[in-house]
C-alpha cells in the first residue's frame, strides 16, 4: 500500500495474521493507558546537542597521552592512543629513558583487556549468604559507603580503630587509602612489601639505609658534563661483569630496564654475564655462563666468595687486588668487628658435610656447584672492576635465611669498590625521587591517643598501636602479612612500647588491589581465618571490603566489593627504582567505566560518611573535612600535594648534578628551575627549593621529570676539599655500617619491654646481633641438619619462578594466557569447552559456538623436571604428577621434562595454578590439575621480618592417573568446587 490512504475496510482480520503473533494484537480492545512509566536511560536530545556530539565523534582524532603502566610493578611509562574516549593502542613512551621505551611488553599492551574486560567489576556488590559462596547483590555506592562507614565506626566504638587493617596489595598508588585509615585512627596500613622480598632488602637497609640494589646499566642517563657544564645524555656502558643470583630481569617485573642494559653492556662493553639460578631462566639464556645452584644456598655461595676474597686478596698482586682498602678504611664503619665475627666460623666444621665453614669445599657440598666454579665466581668478581653482584627477590628474598645472604651480598659489593661507581651497583631506594609527603597522612600517626590497659590510662602516639611493630614482630619494619590468619584467629596483644598489654582483635580487613588468599601464604589458612566464626555465629573478621577493578579469588570472601577505576582511569605517580631521580605521572587517559570510582573519590566518600557517623556517635570525629573532601576536590589536587616533596635528593656525587647550587644541600623542585637557579636557598636547613613539580609540568614533559645522575653519591666534599662520608646514605654515622646500628634501636625496644620476640627467640637469640651472623634456612637437607632425615624420601627441592603475569592479577588477559613462558606456562591443557566467537563459513559473520579447545593448545601452569629425574620416575612431558611435601600437602600438575632446570629441583610458576576465580577464564577451567605453589609452602614466617619462606620446601613426586585427582585432593575443596558459573562464559 502506498502512503496516505488508510484503506479502512479493505483490510481484514486475516490480513493481520500475516504479521505473525503480533498481528493478533490488532484485535485488542485497549487502550487509553500510555506505556508503563519506567525511568529511561536514553534521552531525546535537542538537535544542536546531537550535532555537536556527532561532530565530536566525526572529528575525533587520535590523542596521544602519556601515562604509567600498572600491569606489573615495573610501572613503565606508556604512550596511549585515545580516540573518541576509547583507548585504541598502548605503546611504550619513547621519550622516557626508563622502562621499555617505545615498546610496551606483552603485559603492557594487555592493559586493554583489563580496562575493557567484560568481566571487570562494574558496580558495588554486597555479599548475601556465606563468605565464599559467591552470592552477591548489586547495591548503590551510597548504600555501600553508608554501610561500610557505619560498620567501621561500630568497630571503632567496640575495639578501637586499630582493629582495622588496610592492605593495599601490590598496586603502589595507594596513598588515598592509607591517608584515610591513618586519619580514621589505625596505624595498621600495610602493602605487598610484607610478602615480597623483605630478606632481600635487609642488607641494604642495615648497611646504607636503603633497599634495592641494581646494576648500573640504565642507559642513557642524564649527566652533567664536567667540562662544558651542560647536562647531556651519557650513553656508554661501563659494566664489565654482572652476576645475577636468583634474579631474572628478562621475565621479572619491577626492573625491566635491566634487560636492555644487560644486553647492551654485553654487546657494547664486552661485559660478562653470569647467572646463578636453579633454573635456566630467560636471563640465563642470555648469559655467558649458567651456574645451576641448589635452591636456598645463595648465602652459602656468598659466604664462600667472601672467605675466598679475604683469604686471597693481595693489594700488591695485580691479579689479586680484590678489596678497595681505601674505601674500607674511609667509608665502612664496623669492618673489623664484622670480619672478626665472620672469621669466627672459619675453624668450625659443618655437622652435615664435615668441611670448615665458608671454604670452597664446604660451598661445593652445599650449593652443588663444583668448587672450581665457585672459585671462578669469587675471583672474577674480585678482580673485575667495575662489577655488580645482583641478588634476587625469589632468592634470597624468599628464603628463611635470606637476611644472611643479603648482608653478605652487600658486603661483597662494597668492599670490592663497586658501590655507586659507573658500571657498578647502586641502591636505587636512596637515589630515587621522593613522593607523597603530607598527602600520605603519616602525620596522623603522631596524634596522641589514650587507651585503658589493665585499668590504667595510657597516652601515647597512635603509631604505637601498630599490630606488628609493637606486637609480635617489633623488628619487622616492612610489616608482616603472612601471619594474618593467625592474628585474625587469636587477636593482637601489644608487647612493646607504651601501649604494652593492650589487646584488640582484627575486626576489619580492607583489601585493595591485592589477592592475599592466593599470594600471602597457604590459601586454606586464609580461607579458614576469613570464614572463622565467633560463638554467636557471626564472623570473627567482622568486615571485609574488597576494592579492585578485577575479581580475584580474595573478592569471593568479601562482604562488599567496590569497583575501582583501572589505572587508565585514574591519576597517580609511578613507584619506580631508577638509578637516578625521576618522576612519572600516571594520568587518567579515559573516564572510568560503569560505576568505577577513582581512589580520591572513594577516599572522600568514605571519609565524609565516617565523619557523619562519628559526629553522631561520639560528638566529634577523627576525620577533619579540611583534610579530605574540602581539600582535595580532584585527584589532581591530591597528586600535586604528593609532588611537593620531589625530588628530595641531595646535591652530591660526581659529576655534581647542580654545580650552581651548594653541595650536600637537599633539592626540591623541577629540573628546569634548579638548573636555572630559580630557587630559594635555606642555608640553615641546607635546603634548596625550586618551582614545585606539578601534574601540569609532567604532562608538558611527556609524562616525566628527570633530574641528573651522578656517581659516588655516598660522600660529600667539605669546604677544605676533602671528602666526608654521607651523601645519600641514610645511616647513623653517614658510613656503610657493618655495625648494625639499625638493630640497636630494636634491641632497645626489646630490652625495655623485657620480651624477646618469637621471631628472634627461634634463632636462639635474645636480641639482634649487631654484626655478622649466620643461620641456616629451613627445609633444606643439604644445609640444615634438622632436615637431613627427609633427604631420601623427599628428593626434590621446590623452586618457584614467575611467568609474565602480574603476580596473581592478570591471568584473565587471554593474550598473556596464550604466550608460553619458560617451561612454567605451556600449552599442555586438557580439552575444555569454551563458548567463543567463530567466523561463519564463507566469512558471512560471526556466531557463537561452544568449542572444544583441543589438547595442548592453551597455556597452563606446569611443573618443570629435569630429564634425568624424569627418566628415573618414568615421567614424560604431559604426564600428570602428584607433588607432595612432608606436611602432607599435595598438588597435581602436568610435567614438562627438560634440561632447563637443575636435577633435584622441581620448578613451578607462581600464581599459575589452582586458580578458582571464575573471572580468570581459561585459567579457571584448569584449576584442578594445575599447581597452586602456595599450597606446598610451609606456613612459617621467617625470623626477624616475618616474610613467608616461600622458597624453602622439599617434595616427592609420582605419576598419577586423571581419575585419581579427586581422591588425592579431597581436602582442597575450595578449588575443586564449582563457583556459581555453569561451565562457560561467552566471549
Amino acid at each position: 500500500m502506498s502512503g496516505g490512504e488508510p484503506g479502512v475496510g479493505r483490510i481484514s482480520r486475516r490480513d493481520f495474521l500475516k504479521l505473525g503473533a503480533l498481528g493478533a494484537l490488532a484485535g485488542l480492545t485497549i487502550v487509553t493507558l500510555g506505556p508503563p512509566v519506567y525511568s529511561k536511560v536514553l534521552r531525546k536530545a535537542p538537535a544542536e546537542e546531537i550535532e555537536s556530539m556527532k561532530k565530536k565523534i566525526r572529528m575525533a582524532d587520535v590523542e596521544v597521552k602519556y601515562t604509567v603502566c600498572s600491569m606489573c610493578p615495573a610501572e613503565d611509562p606508556l604512550e596511549v592512543w585515545v580516540k573518541d574516549g576509547r583507548v585504541i593502542r598502548i605503546y611504550g613512551n619513547p621519550y622516557a629513558t626508563y622502562g621499555s621505551k617505545a615498546a610496551a611488553c606483552a603485559k603492557g599492551v594487555s592493559g586493554l583487556l583489563l580496562a575493557y574486560s567484560p568481566y571487570r567489576i562494574k558496580y558495588p556488590l554486597k555479599r548475601v549468604g556465606e563468605r565464599g559462596e559467591g552470592k552477591f547483590i548489586r547495591i548503590s555506592w551510597e548504600q555501600a559507603i553508608d554501610e561500610i562507614a557505619k560498620k567501621l565506626v561500630e568497630i571503632k566504638k567496640k575495639y578501637g580503630p586499630e582493629a582495622v587493617i588496610c592492605d593495599t596489595g601490590d598496586v603502589t598508588d595507594r596513598d588515598q587509602y592509607w591517608r584515610l585509615f591513618f586519619a580514621f585512627g589505625t596505624p595498621n596500613c600495610i602493602e605487598h612489601g610484607a610478602i615480597c622480598d623483605t630478606p632481600r632488602r635487609h642488607g641494604p637497609k642495615l648497611v646504607v639505609g636503603g633497599k634495592r640494589w641494581e646494576g648500573d646499566i640504565l642507559r642513557p642517563v642524564l649527566v652533567r658534563n664536567p667540562k662544558t657544564g651542560k647536562l647531556e645524555w651519557y650513553n656508554k656502558h661501563d659494566a664489565r661483569l654482572i652476576i645475577y643470583v636468583g634474579w631474572n630481569p628478562f621475565t621479572a617485573t619491577r626492573i625491566s630496564w635491566e634487560s636492555w642494559g644487560t644486553i647492551r653492556a654485553k654487546v657494547e662493553n664486552g661485559a660478562k654475564i653470569y647467572v646463578v639460578d636453579p633454573g635456566y631462566s630467560n636471563t640465563a639464556a642470555k648469559a655467558d655462563e649458567w651456574f645451576p645452584i641448589r635452591p636456598g644456598t645463595d648465602g652459602d655461595l656468598f659466604a664462600a666468595m667472601l672467605r675466598y676474597i679475604l683469604e686471597n686478596d693481595n693489594p700488591n698482586d695485580p691479579n689479586r687486588r680484590y678489596i678497595d682498602w681505601d674505601f674500607v678504611k674511609n667509608y665502612i664503619e664496623g669492618w673489623d668487628e664484622f670480619v672478626q665475627a665472620f672469621k669466627s666460623w672459619w675453624d668450625k666444621r659443618d655437622p652435615l658435610n664435615g668441611h670448615y665453614y665458608f671454604t670452597l669445599e664446604w660451598a661445593e657440598a652445599r650449593t652443588g656447584l663444583p668448587k672450581e666454579k665457585i672459585e671462578k665466581l669469587a675471583h672474577e668478581f674480585g678482580i673485575t672492576k667495575p662489577a655488580a653482584l645482583v641478588w634476587g627477590m625469589q632468592s634470597p628474598g624468599h628464603h628463611y635465611n635470606g637476611y644472611v645472604a643479603s648482608i653478605l651480598a652487600v658486603v661483597l659489593n662494597i668492599i670490592t669498590g663497586n658501590y655507586d661507581v659507573p658500571g657498578g651497583i647502586i641502591d636505587t631506594e636512596i637515589t630515587k625521587s621522593s613522593k607523597g609527603g603530607t598527602a600520605t597522612g603519616r602525620q596522623f600517626n603522631k596524634r596522641k591517643v589514650k587507651r585503658v590497659i589493665n585499668g590504667r590510662e595510657v597516652e601515647a602516639e597512635q603509631e604505637y598501636l601498630h599490630y606488628n611493630k609493637y606486637g609480635d614482630w617489633p623488628v619487622a619494619w616492612d610489616d608482616v602479612l603472612a601471619d594474618l590468619p593467625r592474628m585474625i584467629m587469636e587477636g593482637i596483644e601489644l608487647k612493646y612500647g607504651p601501649f604494652k598489654g593492650h589487646r584488640y582483635p582484627i575486626a576489619a580487613y580492607i583489601l585493595r588491589t591485592g589477592n592475599t588468599l592466593m599470594s600471602a601464604g597457604p590459601t586454606r589458612e586464609f580461607i579458614k581465618a576469613f570464614t572463622a566464626k565467633k560463638e554467636d555465629g557471626t564472623y570473627k573478621l567482622e568486615l571485609f571490603v574488597y576494592i579492585d577493578t578485577i575479581f580475584l579469588e580474595s573478592g569471593l570472601y568479601a562482604d562488599y566489593v567496590l569497583p575501582e577505576a583501572s589505572y587508565l582511569e585514574r591519576m597517580s605517580l609511578s613507584d619506580i627504582y631508577p638509578t637516578h631521580p625521576m618522576m612519572y605521572l600516571r594520568d587518567a587517559v579515559i573516564e572510568p567505566l560503569f560505576e568505577a570510582k577513582k581512589p580520591t573519590e572513594i577516599m572522600n566518600m568514605l571519609a565524609k560518611k565516617i565523619y557523619e557517623y562519628e559526629m553522631k556517635e561520639f560528638g566529634r570525629s577523627d576525620i577533619d573535612p579540611k583534610e579530605f573532601w574540602e581539600k582535595y576536590k580532584t585527584e589532581e589536587d591530591f597528586v600535586n600535594e604528593m609532588l611537593l616533596v620531589a625530588p628530595n635528593i641531595k646535591n652530591v656525587g660526581r659529576p655534581l648534578p647542580y654545580p650552581n647550587l651548594p653541595e650536600g644541600y637537599t633539592l626540591y623542585g623541577t629540573p628546569e628551575s634548579l638548573e636555572e637557579g630559580r630557587v630559594t636557598i635555606d642555608h640553615e636547613r641546607k635546603v634548596v627549593r625550586g618551582e614545585p613539580v606539578t601534574v601540569e609540568y609532567l604532562r608538558k614533559h611527556y609524562g616525566g621529570a628527570i633530574w641528573p645522575m651522578s656517581w659516588y653519591r655516598y660522600r660529600e666534599m667539605k669546604p677544605d676539599g676533602t671528602w666526608k662520608p654521607g651523601g645519600v646514605l641514610k645511616t647513623k654515622t653517614g658510613k656503610f655500617e657493618l655495625h648494625f646500628y639499625t638493630y640497636e634501636t630494636y634491641n632497645k625496644l626489646i630490652e625495655e619491654a623485657g620480651v624477646v620476640p618469637p621471631a628472634i627467640k627461634e634463632l636462639g637469640w635474645n636480641k639482634l646481633p649487631t654484626t655478622f651472623y649466620w643461620f641456616e634456612t629451613i627445609w633444606n637437607p643439604y644445609t640444615n641438619p634438622a632436615y637431613a632425615k627427609y633427604k631420601d624420601e623427599y628428593p626434590f627441592q621446590l623452586a618457584n619462578a614467575r611467568v609474565h603475569h602480574a603476580m596473581t592479577g592478570t591471568f584473565m588477559c587471554e593474550w598473556l594466557a596464550q604466550v608460553p613462558a619458560e617451561g612454567l606456562w605451556l600449552p599442555l591443557n586438557k580439552p575444555f569447552r569454551l563458548k567463543m566467537a567463530e567466523v561463519k563459513p564463507g566469512g558471512t559473520g560471526v556466531e557463537h559456538v561452544e568449542k572444544t579447545i583441543g589438547e595442548n593448545k592453551w597455556c597452563i601452569g606446569t611443573v618443570q623436571i629435569n630429564r634425568v629425574d624424569a627418566e628415573k620416575y618414568g615421567i614424560k612431558t604431559g604426564d600428570l604428577v602428584l607433588i607432595e611435601n612432608p606436611l602432607g600437602r599435595k598438588v597435581v600438575a602436568r610435567a614438562y621434562v627438560c634440561e632447563t632446570v637443575r636435577p633435584g629441583v622441581l620448578r613451578i610458576g607462581f600464581g599459575t595454578g589452582g586458580r578458582f576465580s571464575p573471572g580468570l577464564g581459561g585459567t579457571y577451567f584448569h584449576r584442578k590439575y594445575t599447581p597452586n605453589y602456595n599450597e606446598l609452602v610451609d606456613y612459617k614466617p621467617s625470623p626477624i621480618m616475618g616474610q613467608p619462606s616461600v622458597a624453602d620446601m622439599i617434595v616427592k613426586i609420582r605419576k598419577i592417573n586423571w581419575d585419581e585427582i579427586e581422591k588425592e585432593l579431597k581436602d582442597e575443596e575450595y578449588y575443586l568446587k564449582e563457583y556459581t558459573v555453569e561451565g562457560v562464559n561467552t566471549r
Binding site: M1, G3, G4, G7, I11, K18, L19, G20, A21, L22, G23, L25, A26, G27, L28, T29, I30, V31, L33, P35, P36, Y38, K40, V41, L42, R43, K44, A45, E49, I50, M53, I57, D84, L112, P118, Y119, K122, Y123, V128, G134, K135, F136, I137, R138, F551, L556, V561, L593, F594, E595, A837, V839, V846, H848, P918, G919, V981, E982, N985, T986
Partner: protein
C-alpha cells in the same frame, strides 16, 4: 486499519519497556505486582493462542508464583541474587552486551560505536554512564522509543513518518537485535536457576522473533 496498527505498536512499545526494565533492574515486589495487574498484559495473555501469549502466560505464572510464596521477601532477595549472578558478578554468567555477542572480546568495541551512532542518528543520547549503549536493556529501550514515536506519527496522521520509523526499526532489528538477542535469551534460559528468568528469556526470544516478522511484513502489507 490504522487503529489496529496503532494498537499493535502501542502494545509492542509496552513490551519493549518491560523487557528493558527487566534487564536494567532487579525484580521487585512492586514491579511483579504491576505486571500481574496490568490490563494490557492480561489481555495479551488471554487472547487467542499464539506462541507469544503462551510465553507470556508462563512468565506471568512465574511472577505469580513468587508473589504467592510464603516468604516473598526471601524470594525477592533470591531474585536479586540471581540477577546479580546472571548479569553482574562476581563473574557474570552472561554478558548482556552486543559487542561481546558479536565476537568482539572487549567492551566499547566497534559494535558499541555503531550502536551509539545509531542512537545519535535518531537524536538519542545515553545519559546513564553505568551502562554502555549496546547493553540489551538500552537497545530494547531504544526500540521502545522508536515504537512510541511511530505511535505518535500514526496518531498525527503522518504515515510517511510512521513508515520511515518502522523501516528504521526493521533495519535495527535485522542488523542488530535479531543477531544476538535470541542467543542471549538461550544463554539465560540455559544458565539461570530461577524459573522466572527462564520464562522471561523464552518470552523475549519469542517476542523478538515475532517482532522481526512483524517489521518485515508491516511495511510491505500496509504502508
Amino acid at each position: 486499519m490504522i487503529d489496529e496498527l496503532r494498537n499493535i505498536i502501542r502494545v509492542r512499545t509496552y513490551f519493549y519497556y518491560i523487557f528493558k526494565h527487566i534487564f536494567l533492574q532487579e525484580f521487585t515486589e512492586e514491579f511483579l505486582n504491576r505486571l500481574l495487574n496490568d490490563p494490557v498484559l492480561k489481555q495479551v495473555a488471554e487472547m487467542r493462542e499464539t506462541n507469544l501469549s503462551e510465553a507470556l502466560r508462563e512468565f506471568l505464572a512465574q511472577a505469580s508464583a513468587v508473589l504467592s510464596s510464603s516468604d516473598i521477601e526471601g524470594r525477592i532477595l533470591d531474585l536479586r541474587v540471581e540477577y546479580t549472578r546472571l548479569f553482574i558478578g562476581p563473574i557474570p554468567v552472561v554478558i548482556p552486551y552486543e559487542t561481546v555477542y558479536r565476537g568482539e572480546r572487549l567492551l566499547k568495541g566497534d559494535t558499541w560505536s555503531t550502536i551509539r551512532n545509531w542512537y545519535l542518528d535518531d537524536g538519542y543520547l545515553l545519559d546513564d554512564k553505568s551502562v554502555l549503549e549496546d547493553h540489551a536493556g538500552v537497545e530494547l529501550e531504544y526500540m521502545a522509543h522508536l515504537s512510541e514515536e511511530t505511535e505518535r506519527a500514526i496518531d498525527s496522521g503522518n504515515l510517511d513518518e510512521a513508515k520511515r520509523l518502522l523501516l528504521r526499526q526493521k533495519e535495527f532489528m535485522e542488523q542488530h537485535l535479531i543477531k544476538w538477542i535470541p542467543r542471549l535469551c538461550r544463554d539465560i534460559e540455559e544458565r539461570t536457576r530461577e524459573p522466572i528468568y527462564k520464562a522471561f528469556a523464552k518470552l523475549l526470544e519469542t517476542f523478538i522473533n515475532e517482532d522481526q516478522k512483524f517489521l518485515e511484513k508491516v511495511i510491505e502489507e500496509f504502508l
